[in-house]
């Protein structure tokens, strides 16, 4: 949301971004998806107040308790319990912290790096551009998950290492987008005008060009956040990410694999949470893209 206030500072009238966001708000499906995403954010922020139980409290009498609508279930544990008798709903609520935190931080850090490098590469060109583009090419040569897995293997598991492993490659994507946009914006009249009036490079890059190229960056960030959330869940599923007993959706799915035969709910619900959040992000990004693309405007 800082994005929004920044750009409206620059332009007096509602900026392109604000107008686009209003257009976006017209699509019902997009609004629903945004609400779902915010809903998960609230779950993540207020987990201790929302979750009915302590996510790490074990009770072997509740071992593999089924969801409440199945015989033997208990409404106090609506989605049932896992193999250690921990409440699955509470663990899903706490697990949203990991997904939302990793998703948001990786995207924020990576997008900031991407904007800085992309702006410099596109604006200055020459040697700066070729160095940055080379690094981008090299990082793009690694399939994403393998790169993250290898880094996690070398650094060891843990939240901080997940952020490093994902940001390491993620910044390349906004960088390429920004660079491409800057290359076409550099020749625009308003940039020429700012140059002629003696504005500094920094001013032109941050105050003139950046606000005008934010739309595609926002679209890409939303869709990338969906990817990052799946990547974190995949790492945790493989046992390379968040370590027990901290609840994370990926490791919860992994925990339930062994009991799949008799207790399907242990793996199914955390996976469903990933699917719903990622789906909502993907729909939101599609809505943003449609709103930002002049082709779809009335």
């Amino acid at each position: 949301m800082t994005v929004l206030s920044n750009s409206s500072n620059v332009a007096q009238e509602p900026s392109l971004l604000v107008r686009n966001l209003l257009l976006f708000a017209r699509s019902k499906l997009s609004i629903v998806s945004i609400f779902i995403v915010f809903g998960f954010c609230i779950l993540a922020l207020f987990s201790p107040w929302i979750a009915p139980h302590d996510p790490n409290e074990t009770d072997l009498f509740l071992r593999l308790l089924p969801p409440f609508w199945i015989e033997g279930g208990d409404i106090a544990y609506p989605l049932g319990c896992d193999a250690l008798g921990r409440d699955i709903l509470s663990r899903i609520i706490y697990g949203s912290r990991v997904s939302i935190f990793v998703g948001l931080s990786v995207i924020l850090i990576a997008t900031s790096i991407g904007i800085l490098t992309g702006l410099s590469a596109g604006y200055f060109g020459g040697r700066i551009d070729s160095v940055i583009s080379r690094i981008v090419d090299i990082l793009l040569a690694f399939p994403y998950l393998i790169f993250a897995i290898a880094l996690m293997a070398m650094m060891g598991p843990g939240l901080q290492n997940i952020l490093i492993a994902l940001v390491y490659k993620e910044w390349v994507i906004p960088c390429r987008v920004v660079r491409g946009e800057v290359l076409s914006a550099r020749k625009a009249e308003y940039v020429e005008a700012a140059k002629a009036s003696g504005a500094s490079n920094r001013y032109i890059m941050l105050r003139e060009i950046l606000p005008n190229i934010l739309s595609p960056v926002v679209v890409v960030s939303t869709v990338r956040m969906a990817h990052v959330i799946i990547l974190e869940a995949s790492l945790s599923f493989l046992g390379l990410g968040i370590q027990p007993p901290t609840a994370s959706w990926g490791s919860m799915v992994a925990d339930g694999r062994v009991f799949m035969l008799e207790s399907w709910w242990v793996s199914t619900f955390p996976g469903l949470a990933i699917l719903i959040l990622v789906l909502a992000l993907n729909i939101a990004s599609q809505g943003l893209r449609d709103a930002f693309d002049p082709k779809f405007h009335d």
Partner: protein, 335 residues
């Protein structure tokens, strides 16, 4: 495209590959723990033996010499010894590779044969129920966490319905003489129809899981490009000539609409490589992906290093092929 230009593009790959080598080398340099200690584990050896081993592995050299050695070794396909298997890493990888390639190819075929008809139909019947189903389906396809989808498929088809096996490549009681390493082909070469069916049943669920995101992306690409082509002048002209709609679509439109699909398919084949670590783990598929995951937990770093290098090089080459394909099919695009 002339041979010279092709060669020029090929040369451009070298700095990228060198960069890949540097990153992979330093990745393992940063690893905590001493490889010699990991390799020796609990076995009792004298200090001299340890020093000898360190020397054999070239670990007593300074960093830059080790890097040069790493590059020359890599170029000659010598990736060192797998700590765990005590055999050359290259051999261990080569052994697991056919299973992974077979799985990726079947996943690719699955993605192509589902996405192309679906994308074309969705475009022809735009804004109908079928189009909606295709759109929603592809959204689900890209949003589905692969490891979870695989588990659900296992739960339904292998555990509840018991139509398909839970894991592995082929049942233990079926013997197949290995020729190509691809069990689907080897069973056919052997004339073993039961074996082929068995291998197919084993590969079906993993391939569907692996191919799903790709199918979703390709459906979208095919739909978009088909819509674009249908609105072109030459299609309107063919319609005006009174050609039958079906013949227009199959003879004229499809050929051009598939160009982006094929290009994207070539690029996405690279991401199948990433997905197979997850899918092979879920389905107990004895391929390279699972080997890498297992190797991480036993700290068998030379193997992880070599596999990452292998994946990256394959990925670069696939993207190169995608580039070439795109240029070949689009005469307007110049390299």
């Amino acid at each position: 495209m002339s041979f010279g230009k092709l060669f020029g593009r090929l040369i451009q790959l070298f700095p990228v590959l060198l960069g890949v080598g540097i990153i992979v080398f330093f990745m393992t340099e940063l690893t905590p723990g001493d490889p010699v200690e990991i390799m020796l584990g609990d076995s009792h050896v004298t200090e001299e033996q340890e020093i000898a081993l360190r020397h054999d592995m070239g670990l007593d050299l300074p960093v830059h010499e080790r890097f040069v050695k790493f590059l020359t070794n890599t170029a000659t396909g010598n990736f060192g010894l797998s700590y765990f298997h005590r055999r050359p890493v290259a051999d261990v990888i080569a052994e697991r590779l056919p299973a992974t390639i077979e799985l990726s190819l079947v996943a690719l075929i699955f993605a192509l044969i589902t996405s192309i008809p679906l994308g074309v139909l969705a475009a022809i019947k735009k804004n109908t129920l079928l189009d909606r189903v295709a759109t929603v389906g592809s959204l689900f396809g890209v949003s589905m966490p692969g490891f979870w989808f695989g588990i659900l498929l296992l739960l339904l088809f292998a555990v509840k319905l018991q139509w398909l096996p839970v894991s592995g490549r082929i049942s233990y009681d079926i013997e197949v003489p290995i020729v190509t390493g691809f069990l689907l082909i080897d069973t056919l070469l052997d004339g073993n129809w039961t074996g082929f069916k068995d291998a197919f049943k084993h590969i079906f669920l993993p391939a569907v899981t692996l191919g799903l995101p790709m199918a979703a992306i390709l459906t979208r690409v095919t739909r978009t490009s088909m819509l674009e082509v249908i609105n072109q002048d030459y299609i309107t002209f063919a319609e005006a000539k009174g050609l039958r709609k079906r013949s227009i679509i199959f003879k004229h439109a499809l050929k051009n609409a598939l160009i982006p699909t094929i290009t994207v398919a070539a690029i996405e084949t690279g991401s199948l490589l990433g997905g197979n670590m997850i899918v092979e783990t879920v389905f107990g598929w004895p391929g390279l992906g699972r080997l890498v995951v297992e190797s991480i937990f036993i700290r068998n770093y030379p193997l992880v290093q070599a596999a990452v290098l292998f994946y990256a090089v394959t990925y670069v080459l696939l993207n190169f092929v995608a580039d070439i394909l795109y240029t070949k099919m689009n005469p307007r695009v110049e390299l």
